[in-house]
C-alpha cells in the first residue's frame, strides 16, 4: 500500500493507493503503516485529516481500530476531525456493523472536504 500525505493550510490529506494496479488492503499486515502515518500527524498537533479511501477495497478490524483511535485523538477537546473520502460501501457497512459508523463523516469529494475545513 502506498500512502501519500499532503499538508494544506487547515488540514492534511492522506491518500491510500494500492500497488501494481491492485486496490489497497488495510489488514493486520498493512494497518501499522497507516497507523504510523496518522500518528505522525496527530503527534504534530495536526487534527484535521482528510483520508482518501477511493482506492481501498478491504479493511479488517485492525484498520477500523486505526481510524477509530485516530478519530478519538482528533475529536478530543473538539480540536479536529478525521473525514473519510469515498469509503467503499462494503467497508462502510462493516463500520456500521461494529457500531463505528457514527464516529465518522464521509464525503465523496476530496477537494470540497479540504475546502470545508
Amino acid at each position: 500500500m502506498k500512502i501519500t500525505t499532503t499538508e494544506h493550510k487547515r488540514c492534511d490529506v492522506v491518500i491510500l493507493e494500492g500497488k501494481d494496479g491492485k486496490k489497497a488492503r488495510i489488514d493486520t499486515y498493512t494497518a501499522p503503516k497507516l497507523q504510523e502515518v496518522l500518528n505522525g500527524l496527530t503527534d504534530s498537533n495536526r487534527y484535521n485529516i482528510v483520508l482518501d479511501m477511493s482506492e481501498v477495497d478491504f479493511m479488517s478490524s485492525k484498520g477500523l481500530w486505526v481510524l477509530t483511535e485516530t478519530q478519538k485523538k482528533c475529536q478530543h477537546l473538539k480540536r479536529g476531525e478525521l473525514v473519510l473520502v469515498n469509503p467503499d460501501e462494503k467497508i462502510v457497512k462493516s463500520f456500521d456493523l461494529v457500531g463505528m459508523g457514527d464516529y465518522f463523516t464521509t464525503s465523496n469529494d476530496r477537494e470540497a472536504t479540504v475546502g470545508a475545513f
Binding site: 489488514d27 493486520t28 478491504f58 478490524s61 481500530w65 475529536q75 462493516s94 456493523l97 457500531g99
Partner: protein, 138 residues
Amino acid sequence: MPTVVFSGRFKSLAKISKFVKKHAKAAGLDDADIYAVELAVDEACSNIIEHAYQGEGVGKIECACDVSANGLTITLRDNGKAFEMDQVPQPDINRPLQHRTKGGLGVFLIRKMMDDVQYSSTPEKGNVLVIRKQKASG
C-alpha cells in the same frame, strides 16, 4: 477439496484472501457475501497468528475451500494454542467514541459475517475452525 498451507505471517493474509475469494466466486456468492467471507477469514487468520501462535513465523495455517451447490465452507486449521472462542467478550458497540475500547471485534465480525461457525481443538487435529456462507436465494 482445494487446500493450501500458508505461512503463519501477516504477509500471507493477502494471499489467503485471494484464495478464498476465488472459491467464493466459484460458489456463486454475490459481492457482499464474497466480502463477508474475505473479512471473516482475514479476522480468523489474524487471530490464529496473534493468539494461537502468539507471533509471526511460528506455525502454518491450512485453508480448505469446499464449494457446494448451497455455498462455501472454509476450514482453517492450525497447531497453535487452543482458543476459547466462546469466552471472548462481546464488544460494546453502542459506546460513544471517546469511551470505545479495543478488543473482541474479530470474533464478533466472524460470527456476524458467516452463517455458521464451528470451532474445535483436539491434540490430534489441532485447532479447526469451520465457517459456512450460504448462497443468497434467488
